[in-house]
Assembly symmetry: C2
Homo-oligomer: 333 residues x 2
DNA sequence: TTGTAAGCGTTATCAC
DNA sequence: GTGATAACGCTTACAA
């Protein structure tokens, strides 16, 4: 069993350089190429990545960093789906991936990642707005694609959806269906998506000329926060006929609180979410929400990074994926 | 900014070999060591993994392979928790990890993984009993730790819990609390854990001298399978006073069916699960189940592999982690 | 304790 | 189209 290029070279009676050309697609005569390919086939040869990396400067391995509070990582289906999407795309492109999960301190993780010293590029996602790790990574000279962390600066590549526009759209839908006392239970404080969704909500409410003051209630993307916020709102005695929740989880919590209070959805209160997770369509009534194809985001992130590596000169990639407003029974009769 | 050992050597006025010794803990005089360390500190040097790997034969990177049907990967909290545990342990040991998710064909994945040619070892988990990928990996000469895939052969290292004993224990608990028409809704066919849990169930029933024939109903670990199986059982008109479900998800489905049929838990039917996922304690009534510390399994898998790499001569590691019977309201008044 | 030098398995630049 | 040959950055005998 051939272990090195030299073995292959000897077995096929050519030089190592020629074997390398066969493998990497240099110009070789059809006859020799075939001969070498046969030998490769029968010997079950596998190139040594480390050596290849050392000689060429690239490794075929990209890093995936999810700098997210540990328990949160998979509580929210967002991250698992994202990881699945990225992994899937990368594998099909024959690129390896190294993974960093959780949120250790910036420096520790940074040393760890950069110390790897062999990553062609990095896909990074983080949940807080000003994540020092993201900044540290951006400061390094390794190609980077941010996910769900859109930046205003001109030199970052990112893949994201337009949370702001989507939120404005779904809020406008609530307005259009006749609601006029609309509240928003926000996502996690300091999260990029939470902030942007709240902005979209405010925009829509302002455009509709509706009351905004006190209509933004802090939440944190959990079922519980939706439940508590809704319960408090009910207890406050304020009139409300629609709830735009930071995500589907939060909406599910709101359902519970409304049901306990005997308020009917959508007759008394319309409820809208964000994400379109699997359970959204199975709630009673089915939840109106914004669908963002999370695995598609993952795929696109991988594609984007690979294209960036392929062609680094062509400047940063800035990809905004479309969302879809999914209207179901929770907002319309 | 120093990029190579040679840079460091020059800056600190010693040879490259000495710098290498400082970094890898060879014998160096305190004075020179300090001098070199200072230079390393100020230059923010990071060793090149590929070169180190090429020269030493080890990379500090382990592979993690989860050969599981894609949609299943994170539907079951088991795999996410496992991954989190592994990742956590590995990172804290300064070991990198490469990840392969999903279940592509054996050969494709195998080429991909082995072709990496730089992994020090692999942690592999798969859901089916005879996974060819697992066999392919075992056939390679790379150190391997199996998770949830205990093997009888004498030369595999694994980390698992004793599904069989745990199932026997929880079934015995049902017997002891006076149940005598006990049914088991199994886990996924061909899954290692599903098979072992069913064996444990059978053992307990036999020892109790109860009826076993027809009492093992096929399920697949999903909520739905629990719901359907229970519904059918009710429809069949057969008397039953206890249900041991393949996992907590399945038990949740059973709850729904029982509730729809107006049967009370635990008065009419006792229900038991397996896993002790977060929701188990929040069901009404709280679910009696088996707790297996999944993240601990992940930690242990990482530790085991690292120890195996450290000391390959000392033979395979075979770790069975303890489980805990958690008795709650679903089986006792 | 320290330095010298021989690899590790590729890729890539030359000549031929 | 093909073959020498010099990197790539590090580890590790072996000498000194």
């Amino acid at each position: 069993m051939a272990r090195t290029l030299d073995d292959l070279a000897e077995l096929s009676g050519v030089s190592r350089a020629t074997v390398s050309r066969v493998i990497n697609g240099g110009s070789v005569s059809p006859a020799t190429r075939q001969r070498v390919l046969d030998v490769i086939e029968t010997t079950n040869y596998r190139p040594n990545l480390a050596a290849r990396n050392l000689a060429s400067g690239r490794s075929g391995v990209v890093g995936v960093v999810m700098h997210v509070a540990a328990p949160l990582t998979f509580a929210d289906a967002y991250f698992s789906q994202l990881l699945t999407g990225i992994c899937d795309s990368l594998t099909s492109q024959a690129a390896g991936m190294m993974l960093w999960l959780g949120n250790r301190t910036k420096q520790e993780t940074l040393d760890n990642i950069l110390g790897m010293g062999m990553l062609d590029g990095i896909i990074v996602t983080a949940d807080t707005i000003d994540d020092p790790l993201v900044d540290g990574l951006r400061a390094s000279d390794i190609p980077l694609v941010l996910v769900g962390h859109r930046r205003a600066d001109r030199d970052s590549s990112y893949v994201d959806v337009d949370h702001e526009a989507a939120s404005e759209a779904i809020t406008a839908h609530l307005v259009k269906t006749g609601r006029n006392a609309i509240y928003h239970i926000t996502g996690r404080p300091n999260s990029v998506s939470g902030r942007d969704r709240a902005i979209g909500f405010r925009n829509a409410i302002r455009k509709a000329g509706l009351e905004l003051d006190g209509h933004v209630i802090p939440g944190d993307y959990t079922d519980e926060s939706g439940y508590e916020a809704t319960k408090n709102l009910i207890a406050s005695g304020l009139r409300f006929d629609a709830l735009f929740c930071g995500n589907d989880n939060t909406a599910r919590g709101a359902y519970r609180a409304l049901s306990e209070a005997g308020r009917s959805i959508p007759d008394d209160v319309a409820v809208a979410g964000f994400d379109d997770l699997e359970f959204a369509s199975q709630l009673g009534p089915p939840l109106t929400t914004v669908r963002q194809g999370v695995d598609e985001i993952g795929h696109e992130a991988a594609r984007t990074l690979l294209s960036l590596l392929e062609n680094p000169e062509s400047g940063p990639r800035r990809v905004l994926l479309p969302t879809e407003l999914v209207v179901r029974g929770s907002t319309t009769a």
